[in-house]
Symmetry: C2
Subunit: 380 residues, 2 copies
Amino acid sequence: MKFTINRSAFLNSLADVQRAISSKTTIPILTGVKIIANNEGLTLTGSDSDISIEAFIPVEDEKNQLEIMETGGIILQARFFNEIVRKLPDDKMTIEVLDHFQTLITSASASFTINGLDPNNYPHLPVIDSNESFILNVNLFKQVISQTVIATSTHESRPILTGVNIVIENNTLSAVATDSHRLSQRIIPLEMSEEQARQKYKIIIPGKSLIELSKILEEDAETAEMMITENQVLFKTENLYFYTRLLEGIYPETQRLIPDTSSTSVVFNATSLLGSIERASLLSHEGKNNVVKLSVSKDKVEISGNSPEIGNVQEEIHFQSFQGEEIELSFNPDYMKDALRTFGQSDILVKFTSPIRPFVIVPSEDGKEFVQLITPVRTF
Amino acid sequence: MKFTINRSAFLNSLADVQRAISSKTTIPILTGVKIIANNEGLTLTGSDSDISIEAFIPVEDEKNQLEIMETGGIILQARFFNEIVRKLPDDKMTIEVLDHFQTLITSASASFTINGLDPNNYPHLPVIDSNESFILNVNLFKQVISQTVIATSTHESRPILTGVNIVIENNTLSAVATDSHRLSQRIIPLEMSEEQARQKYKIIIPGKSLIELSKILEEDAETAEMMITENQVLFKTENLYFYTRLLEGIYPETQRLIPDTSSTSVVFNATSLLGSIERASLLSHEGKNNVVKLSVSKDKVEISGNSPEIGNVQEEIHFQSFQGEEIELSFNPDYMKDALRTFGQSDILVKFTSPIRPFVIVPSEDGKEFVQLITPVRTF
C-alpha cells in the first residue's frame, strides 16, 4: 500500500473512526485503525466491538488530494498514529507499507517508521443485508437522541434500560428511554414504504452508541439511511458507516406510565426555570438528600433547598399561567435540569397530579410529540 | 456587615483571591474567603499560608456599584460561595451578616442563607514594614517568570531548587532556576535608589508562587511594587496585594555552570526547531529512554528518535548558519521543548561544547541577558 493525501482531510476521517476506538479494549487489535487503499479511495475502520465506524475518502473528491500509488492495507495503533499525523510539518503526507508491516510516514523532511499489523487479522464487520431501510432527517434525529438519552440508565443492573427503545410503525418513529425514576419520549414522522407500513419494527439502541452517533452525524448531511437487522443497526451517510449492536430483551411497557390527566398545570419559560433549579440545587448537592422542594399556588411558585450543615436557599419563580389546585412536592433537581435543557429557550407546560405521582413536562405549544416525565421524591 | 455590589466586579476580585485558596489545606478556616467591609470598600482575602492574596474593591470606583450599609466582616467557604455568586440571577447582589455568622445573600427574587465563620479567627497576614521596595515593569517581570520557572525542580528532595533565585544589585535583577539537569537565567534592568545600589539583595521565591503571581498580574497594570522582608515578599498593584513566603537556605552557585566558550554554533528559528523536536519526541515518549539524538554538521542537521517496540523517526532540520565542528549528542526532548517555547518565534543561537557537556540556547541577537542551558544525556 502506498498513497499521498491532504493531511487535514485524512485527519477528519481519522477523528471520525477514532470515536469507536477505545484504549481500554481487551482485544489489542482494536486499539488500531485499519486503513485499506483501493483504486476508488481509502477506507478507515475503527471498532470497539459494540460500535464500528467506517469512513471512506474517495479519490474523486479533489479536496482530498488523494493519490493511490499501490493498493493494500495496514493496521496502525490509533492514538499514536493520530499524534504523528497531527504533528507532521507539511499539508501533504505519504504513507507506505514496507516489509513485515513496517509503515513509513513521510511529510516534508520528516519521516516516521512504525510497526503495523496485518489487516487480514482485523475482525469482520457485520454484513448488513437488509431491505429494512429508512431515511432519517439528520437534524431531527439528533434532536430525538439528545432529548431521550438523558433518561437512559447508567447502571448495568438492568442493561435493557441503558438503551433507547425505538418503535417504528404507521409512518412514525417513537423513541423512549427511562431509568425508572424519569422517562423521555419523542415521536417524529418517518416515511415508510407500503410494505414497511404493514409491519412494526422494534429495536433497542444502547444510549452510548446514540451519543457517539450524534457527535459523528454532521450538520451538513441532511439525511442518513438507517438499516435494521436482527442484532445490528447501520446508519449510513455519504462517506460514513456507523454500526452498533442492539440490546437484546424486551423493553418494559412505558405508555401506561405517562398520566393522561392532571390536577395542576403551570406554564414556565424553560430557561428561566432552569436557572432557578440550578440555584436551588447548589445547596441540595452539598447535603445528603439531593432534593429540592417546589410549592405551587395561584399567587406564587416557590422553590427551596436546604442542607442543615450549610444553609438554605429559596426563590420565587416567575410563571406565565396557572390552572388547578395548589400542590407541594419534592424532586431530584438533576433530573429536572436534564429535562429542562432539552427544551431550549421555549415555554413549557408542567402538569402535576399528586406529590407522589410522576409529573410531566411538555412543550406549551404541542404536548403530544415530546414528553419528559419525573417521579417526585417522597419526603414525608 | 451589609453591602450591595455589582456581581461581576465582585466575582473578578473573588477569582483573584481564590487563586491562593486550596481545598486541600489542613487548616479548615483557610478554605474560606475573608470579606471585610469598611467605609472605603471591601477587602477580600485568601491564603494557603504559603501564598496570601488580598483584593480591595473601592467604593469610589463607580463600576463596582458598591454601597456599604454596615461595616463588619465574615468568612465564607470559598468554593461554594463562588458557585452561588456565579449563579445569582441579577447583575447586583446584597450580602448581609445576620446573627451567629449566618449570612444572607440576595439577588432579585433568590435568597441564600449560609453559615459563615468569625473573621477574627482568620490568621494574620505578615506585616511588611520595609524600605526595600522596588518598582517592577509588569510585562517584563512576567517574562522573567515564564522564562525561568520552567527550570525549577518539582521534587522536594532539594527544596531550594523548587524556587527561582533572584539577585538584585547594580541596577539589575537576575533570576536563575535549575533542577540540576537544566538551567534558565534572565537578567533585566531595575531602578534602585542610591542607598539600595550599595547593597545586594538575594531572595529565593517558590516557583509555584511565581506561577500564581504571573496569572494574577494583569496586563493592564504597567508596574508593580515589590517589597522584601526577611522571609516574605509582597507584590503590590493598585488594588491587589500578593504575599509569598521565601525559601530559606543558600542557593547553589550557578554562574560557573554556564560555559564561556563553545566549539559549535548553529542558528535556528525557535518555532521551526520546536516543531521538529515535538515530532522526534513522539517516539521517545513511548519508549523507555526519553531521549532524542541530534547530529550537526556543516551540511546537515538531523534529529532522530526511536523506540524499539514502536519504530523510529528522523528529520532534517533547517538552520540559518553553522560554525565550528561536527557534533552528535542526545538529550531529553521535554527540556528542549520547554526551553524553546520561552523564545517565541525568534531566532536562536545554540552553542555546543561536547556531547557530554551542557549546551546553551540564547537569542541570536543578544545572548547576554537570557540563557537556557541543557545537560545532554550520555548514551554511550
